[in-house]
């Protein structure tokens, strides 16, 4: 064997993964308990069949258009572009979707699949609550009981979303184990699934978990990138120079990037740097972590030398996860996508700037992407084009932002 046999192999296409075992290079896989393994295989088969079914695609497209409100617009951020004085900046407006974030693209796809599989009960984990709300929403639409696991810490800082889920008829179960955040909510959702194997479908909210979840969630979210491609071609007559998206688990970024992976387009994923990646209070798994196994897949994780998972920190509850989707880990290692991080305070500054220059209150998650655009757009020529995914609206975050700015509402 060659000495560098562990170096990632550059593929002919960056869009062909995963392999039949669910691997993107060394990442991904199916690291789950035996109890769940038959269910994971059943899901894989059902999803493969759905992908071959024109009816399934038609159903998805119908609800995407009439219920979610797709396609979401591609907005030229003229004022922001002028303020920054560099590349042209476009926002993919996925915050205009029903429920206010990109999360519903995936929950729609998964609940349609759950119905095809005859499942009668839905569970989900949530961090910021956007995925929980998106799951509760489609459960209300299709009249299925919904249980959402949410960390007790997150319940406190995302009270409006908790109330939304309850209004939509979901049961929100506070998770107090561990640190009471997203990773613990995912643990408890997996525990629920193991105990309710007969009737329950687990709607995972990001491009992580055992195969086929990372690929399936990516596919449902890729509607973002497919639309962006058509829209930018129509607006500018060419592909963009760069795509920018924030990354917690990485579903909005994967959805935007995937349709462009084989094109000459630069891609930048922005992780949550919290108080700084040189501190122990951040959520930048690629910048500050190393490969490990958690929640069914091998991927970059924040962990100590003994392999115990560290707590993540971010001002944004939606990015506060110590892992990242396995396909991102692979794209990082093969060098196809650049990954950077911005801090809580940079995201807060970008949040405020966006409100005032574009009249859009962004979620704290895409405020991270915008914080990087602020650094990077002025360095580019004026004829360059950047598309940033505005993946969520910020109404849910106004209390967190007020608190961070020391303002009493």
């Amino acid at each position: 064997m060659a000495a560098d046999s562990n170096a990632p192999v550059k593929p002919e296409s960056y869009r062909s993964g995963p392999d039949e075992r669910g691997h993107f290079g060394i990442f991904g896989g199916r690291f789950v308990a035996e109890t769940l393994m038959p269910l994971v295989l059943e899901l894989e088969a059902a999803y493969a069949a759905a992908c071959e079914s024109p009816e399934f695609q038609e159903e998805f497209d119908y609800y995407a258009e009439h219920y979610i409100g797709r396609p979401s617009p591609l907005h030229f951020a003229r004022s922001l572009t002028e303020t920054l004085g560099g590349a042209k900046i476009y926002f993919k407006r996925d915050e205009l979707n029903h429920t206010g974030a990109h999360k519903i693209n995936n929950t729609l796809g998964q609940i349609l699949l759950a119905r095809r599989m005859g499942k009668s009960r839905i569970i989900a984990e949530t961090g910021a609550g956007q995925h929980g709300v998106a799951t509760a929403t489609v459960c209300a639409l299709f009249d299925l009981p919904c249980v959402v696991y949410m960390g007790a810490t997150d319940i406190e800082r995302q009270a409006p979303n908790v109330f939304r889920m309850k209004l939509l008829g979901a049961e929100v179960i506070p998770v107090t184990s561990g640190t009471g955040t997203l990773k613990d909510a995912m643990n408890d959702a997996l525990r629920d699934w193991v105990a309710n194997v007969e009737d329950t479908f687990y709607i995972i909210g990001t491009v992580a978990g055992p195969h086929p979840y990372p690929a399936m969630v990516r596919d449902f979210q890729s509607v973002i990138g497919r639309e962006t491609r058509e829209q930018i071609l129509s607006a500018e007559g060419r592909l963009p120079d760069a795509l920018v998206a924030c990354i917690g688990g990485g579903s909005n970024a994967m959805g935007l990037f995937h349709p462009f992976l084989d094109d000459p387009v630069r891609m930048i994923g922005v992780e949550a740097g919290g108080l700084g990646v040189d501190t122990d209070k951040h959520a930048a798994s690629l910048t500050g972590g190393r490969p490990g196994v958690l929640h069914g897949n091998r991927t970059y994780l924040l962990q100590n030398d003994d392999g115990q998972i560290n707590d993540a920190h971010s001002i944004s509850a939606g990015l506060d996860y110590p892992g990242i989707g396995p396909e991102h880990s692979w794209l990082h290692d093969v060098g196809r996508v650049e990954y950077v991080s911005v801090t809580d305070s940079e995201a807060l500054d970008a949040f405020q700037m966006c409100c005032r220059t574009e009249g859009i209150i962004p979620a704290l998650e895409p405020a991270h992407a915008l914080a990087h655009v602020r650094k990077f757009a002025p360095e580019l020529e004026k004829d360059k084009i950047i598309v940033m995914n505005m993946c969520g609206r910020g109404d849910k975050d106004i209390f967190t932002v007020a608190h961070a700015l020391e303002i009493n509402l």
């Binding site: 075992r21 896989g29 199916r30 690291f31 789950v32 308990a33 035996e34 109890t35 769940l36 393994m37 038959p38 269910l39 184990s177 561990g178 990773k183 613990d184 643990n187 997996l190 525990r191 193991v194 105990a195 309710n196 194997v197 007969e198 490990g292 196994v293 958690l294 929640h295 069914g296 091998r298 994780l301 962990q303 030398d305 003994d306 392999g307 115990q308 998972i309």
Partner: protein, 277 residues
């Protein structure tokens, strides 16, 4: 391909149990819970209290298949500096006095992955470990640890669950040795208990597929359940009930109360009465 280490304590133990015509008691504790010294002292007293096989949990921050009792035990151990290295050292120290009782390590893959799979199986063999149970390594991931562990001579004990259908069962049993661990419920540790009828049915089904000894675990809490289960199975596994008894003997700062060892060992003796006349 497997070069089983000698002595094969698991095979000897099950042969001994068969000769005595009684079932075995497998007791679970988490290494380092509530602190390294107490945990080692407890481990050393388990055989004389009636444990036939010791299942030692390798602490992990995110034990996804475990219920609240064992999760809490993991966190207590980690808070006191528990680590995979410490777990292996604990087995080494145990082996200075006890050459006979089989020790099985149970846990999750990530700490081992960080330690290095090859280094781990070598160190585990040196420490005197007999077998491994890895919750999050299904047959689909056998190349990660199952293959190197079996090559090094460790038993690979696989969990068979109510969702493991016949087609899958053949695959699951293929690289299994030492014994088969039947998970009696679809669920996490320390919660529901299966009916004795469903356990009997599952054991009968497994007997038609394997000659390996069969152990049953999940939801077994008292001597009566131990007795019922071992009427058909070769051994019963008790975990959460023992770990909860440890928790019941801690002060407000999770420090052991003076009677912890005696109280936990007397529970183990009671449980052992379920496999003895």
């Amino acid at each position: 391909m497997t070069s089983q280490i000698h002595p094969d304590r698991l095979a000897d133990t099950f042969a001994g149990l068969a000769a005595m015509k009684r079932g075995g008691l497998i007791t679970f504790i988490t290494a380092g819970d509530p602190d390294p010294a107490t945990s080692l002292a407890l481990m050393k007293r388990l055989p004389q209290s009636g444990a036939d096989i010791i299942e030692l949990g390798m602490p992990f921050s995110d034990p996804m298949a475990d219920g609240p009792a064992i999760q809490a035990a993991s966190l207590r151990a980690l808070k006191q500096g528990g680590s995979l290295r410490q777990t292996l050292d604990m087995v080494s120290e145990f082996r200075t006095d006890d050459q006979l009782t089989p020790v099985i390590l149970m846990g999750y893959f990530n700490p081992i992955y960080q330690y290095g799979a090859t280094r781990f199986v070598n160190d585990a063999v040196s420490a005197g470990v007999d077998g491994l149970i890895l919750v999050d390594l299904p047959v689909e991931e056998d190349d990660e640890l199952c293959d190197p562990a079996r090559t090094a001579g460790l038993h690979w004990i696989r969990l068979v669950t109510p969702t493991t259908n016949d087609k899958r069962l053949a695959k699951v049993l293929q690289n299994t040795s030492g014994f088969v661990y039947h998970v009696s419920i679809a669920g996490i540790t320390g919660t529901r208990s299966a009916s004795s009828g469903s356990i009997d049915d599952a054991i009968s089904r497994l007997r038609t597929h394997t000659t390996l000894p069969l152990a049953v675990g999940f939801g077994i809490k008292d001597p009566a359940q131990v007795r019922t289960v071992t009427a058909s199975a070769d051994a019963a596994v008790v975990g959460s009930a023992i770990v909860s008894e440890i928790e019941n003997n801690l002060d407000g700062q999770s420090r052991p109360l003076p009677d912890l060892l005696d109280n936990v060992c007397s529970l183990v003796s009671e449980l052992a009465s379920g496999v003895r006349l």
